[in-house]
Symmetry: C2
Subunit: 318 residues, 2 copies
């Protein structure tokens, strides 16, 4: 199937964030061997880009205390691009030492969320990033930037487009060639995606990749990705099974599920290099690892053309 929708790219690249963003909020430590098994299953399903761990204080986030070990298991895979979240200089030193391909630096587009999330001002965050950039010079380790609350802030409401644009410009000035807009609490809407992408285009130019990371908190995560495709965006971040919640809303879902996103892309004629059956098996493994049902939908319903026996079901008039 070739791209059937006008303006859509013919391929897209998915970055799997489940091992970091998904598992980070799990209260019970997931054994290192299980993390490695999950990542291996995702590699087997064709994914090649991973936000694989986070080099943070083991006291603050015990779940990520095995960051170096997890990375060591995969850093010799030449075909895999492995990034890690890095909140400060100490984390950056550890990430470089451990052999990441790129470090992900993150700050929020809204001041309150940045204060709440990393306990410093946005200006202080950017200053810290400059220090990390100097540390990375000559190491071959690239820098990526994430803009949290890029579509809205849970404390402040709407976020000014200018704050997002200015932050992206600062990231470019620091040498980042990959910038993610993070939909931290599910406030992205398709219309806002169109606006953000159009506002950022002149700032980023052709040498910087713009990636979109949506949460399905209000059900429109895939519709937002669909809007991104219409703008020609080729990079998306997602989490297998939809691992990872929304810290603000107990019953709400968080990250868009990788297999659901891959399904929509494939069915839109956008090549992803992934195998849906294997993604579904990886999502089922993720469910077993965390011991509860995950919000991914395709893992429950199965591929589109999986037919049922006429004897197996009761129908309900339409």
């Amino acid at each position: 199937m070739s791209a059937v929708i006008a303006g859509f790219p013919d391929h897209a690249v998915l970055t799997e964030v489940g091992p970091r963003d998904g598992l980070q909020s799990e209260p019970i430590f997931v054994p290192t061997s299980e993390k490695i098994a999950l990542i291996q299953a995702l590699l087997d399903a064709g994914l090649r880009r991973f936000e694989i761990t986070s080099f943070v204080s083991p006291k603050a986030v015990p779940q990520m205390r095995d960051a170096a070990e997890v990375l060591a298991a995969f850093r010799d895979r030449e075909d895999a691009h492995l990034t890690a979240l890095v909140p400060n200089m100490r984390g950056a030193e550890a990430a470089i030492e451990a052999g990441v391909d790129a470090m992900v630096l993150f700050a929020s587009a809204s001041e309150s969320h940045n204060l709440k999330n990393v306990n410093r001002s946005r200006t202080a965050s950017l200053k810290g990033f400059a220090d990390v950039a100097r540390l990375a010079e000559g190491t071959g380790v690239r820098l990526q930037g994430a803009i949290a609350t890029a579509f809205g802030c849970p404390f402040e409401g709407e976020v000014d487009a200018r704050a997002v644009v200015d932050q992206a410009r600062a990231y470019v000035d620091l040498g980042m060639d990959y910038i993610t807009l993070g939909d931290t609490t599910g406030m992205a809407t398709p219309a806002l995606v169109v606006k953000r992408v159009q506002a950022l285009r002149p700032v980023l130019g052709k040498s910087t990749t713009l990636a979109l990371h949506f949460h399905n908190t209000r059900g429109v995560g895939l519709a937002c990705a669909y809007a991104g495709l219409g703008q020609g965006i080729t990079h998306y971040e997602s989490s297998i099974g939809g691992l990872g919640g929304c810290p603000f809303v107990p019953r709400a879902t968080g990250n868009v599920a990788t297999e659901d996103l891959a399904y929509m892309l494939m069915e839109s004629g956008v090549e992803t290099g992934t195998d849906l059956d294997r993604l579904i098996r990886a999502a089922q493994l993720a469910e077993r690892i965390v011991g509860r049902e995950l919000p991914g939908q395709v893992m429950k319903a199965g591929p589109r053309l999986k037919t049922a026996s006429m004897d197996s079901v009761r129908t309900a008039n339409g």
Copy 2:
């Protein structure tokens, strides 16, 4: 907010199918007074079109045995358009007698599903519709047509576009001015929506309304609606809270949730005439009525700009 996405209509009309499609599969009888309270809450939220009940054999579907009573509670509302599903002549007689605005006749685009669903061939279904059309003549009661499995069949897989087009043409010939494409088991994809709408346009012309009814079984229900909007489609069917399951997949969700769809439309600058807070309250009422969590997402997360206190939450780095 005006329509911000190129090609989108500036308004859309939602038909609420929860009272029929949603409740029909509930195993325990929902008291008539609770059905009426739910419909009243939906009217209060601004909805004006309802598939309100089904005139079927009370033995086959005991949940709908109070069809006439439910209809009687609202038929004097001049501003509400009330339809009922009608499977045969006996149902049509009862529906006309009860005072519906329109009868919804339904057949599948795939032979196996039609056989399984209504125990007759597609040809026999169409012949039956002609009898109903004669019965309706001169009564002022309109006819609507639903095409089930319009995006795929759980038994046969892909459904030929010609089968859908031919069925729509037959519906037009029977005098139907409103035709719904039903995504019976969640096999619609955005690309297929574009194809179906484009294939049907020449058949339907300007005097027939095309409505889209999606299931969120594989997570892409709202993305499908988004694709429909891009084609200028203004009529959508949905179910409050996402009431109604998928009879083929135990853990999968069914109908797109009305409040989630309304949220996406509003945020896309498409006017719906509904009040989101009241839709959320109606969805919460639906949850209380069926006594379990429903899949709607906005009802859990709340409106987009509902802000949290900075003291109330723990964040998780991005």
